[in-house]
Symmetry: C2
Subunit: 196 residues, 2 copies
């Protein structure tokens, strides 16, 4: 599953729901007993349909002094360069999700180093998590959602053509930490929206 | 929203869905074009209903040489001691969610220090995130989902009466890091289930 904004992943942080997934009856918005937020509640079977933020897991694949970027073949941000990343699936650890996405988008063989950045993006109810990873060989090639896969030195990074603020921030932290020769975990919030 | 396992949060990592939330028609499980996993797809409007892991955000509130624990007044793990934590809500940063849960469960005034532990718990499709936090005063008291709030020194921690592995692990890391006088971010996976 990719970073596309479908109906389900529309960027609206309380997506509209009309019918109960359990019994098919109509839903209404109400604050359940003991709760303090509006939820979708079934008028017939009273199931409460919670909606919660989603996690996007990805990698920063490193080969010598270069990082691997993917040119997006899908919306949003078609044609922009990104780190391989996508929605975490049920039953996965975050590292497993990050590794899977790196395989799906870049067919890259990697070895996870450590968890490197985590960003809350509250206006779209998403959390981005990137791992530093060692790119093990040069056999990578584009997956179906990728136009091009390419290694970039710091001076060649297409900063104006990156896909998402979380990707830009992760790359900025990486090159700074590399200059300082001190890699540390970084956490932050991204409150701006990206340009269409 | 708390750590309760309702129908929605049942611990089954692919909860059953029968009807489309958009149009009310019946759902079927199929692999959508360009995907590689079974999803619930509407037979009428073709909406794909993705299901993804949820984040539980919490705090490790510290006052001098003590940590604040909450005795759970709700299932699961009724009567067990926990760190204040609960499901991250749409529109929140993880730190905001952790702070809100600490207020709701312990009415505690805290100041976030830093992100301290992150655990993937894939068998229940959850990710736990705990922040170190400074407890600012002693005016805390139980919220509606808490029986008792209490400060514990290391030697008094009720290790056999803790709620969840992520809580035990966070406390273990904390006391070890405090002895070493070196606090660092910890990430890991929890693959065991907790006892009923």
């Amino acid at each position: 599953m990719q970073l596309s904004l479908s109906v389900e992943h529309s960027g609206v942080y309380t997506p509209l729901m009309k019918f109960c997934g359990q019994c098919g009856a109509s839903l209404r918005q109400q604050i359940p007993e003991g709760d303090n937020r509006l939820r979708y509640v079934c008028s017939a079977c009273h199931t409460i349909h919670y909606q919660n933020p989603r996690i996007i897991a990805g990698c920063l694949p490193i080969y010598e002094n270069k990082v691997l970027l993917c040119k997006r073949a899908i919306e949003p941000r078609l044609g922009k360069w990104t780190l391989p990343a996508g929605f975490l699936e049920n039953g996965e650890t975050i590292a497993e999700g990050a590794t899977r996405e790196t395989t799906e988008e870049a067919n890259a063989n990697i070895s996870i180093i450590d968890l490197y950045t985590l960003f809350s993006v509250p206006h779209i109810s998403q959390v981005y998590v990137f791992y530093r990873a060692e790119l093990l060989d040069l056999t990578f090639f584009p997956g179906i959602e990728t136009m091009e896969t390419k290694l970039f030195k710091e001076e060649d990074i297409p900063w104006e053509e990156l896909s998402f603020p979380s990707v830009s921030q992760t790359l900025e932290y990486y090159f700074k930490d590399r200059r300082d020769n001190s890699f540390q975990f970084h956490e932050g919030n991204i409150r701006v929206s990206y340009k269409k």
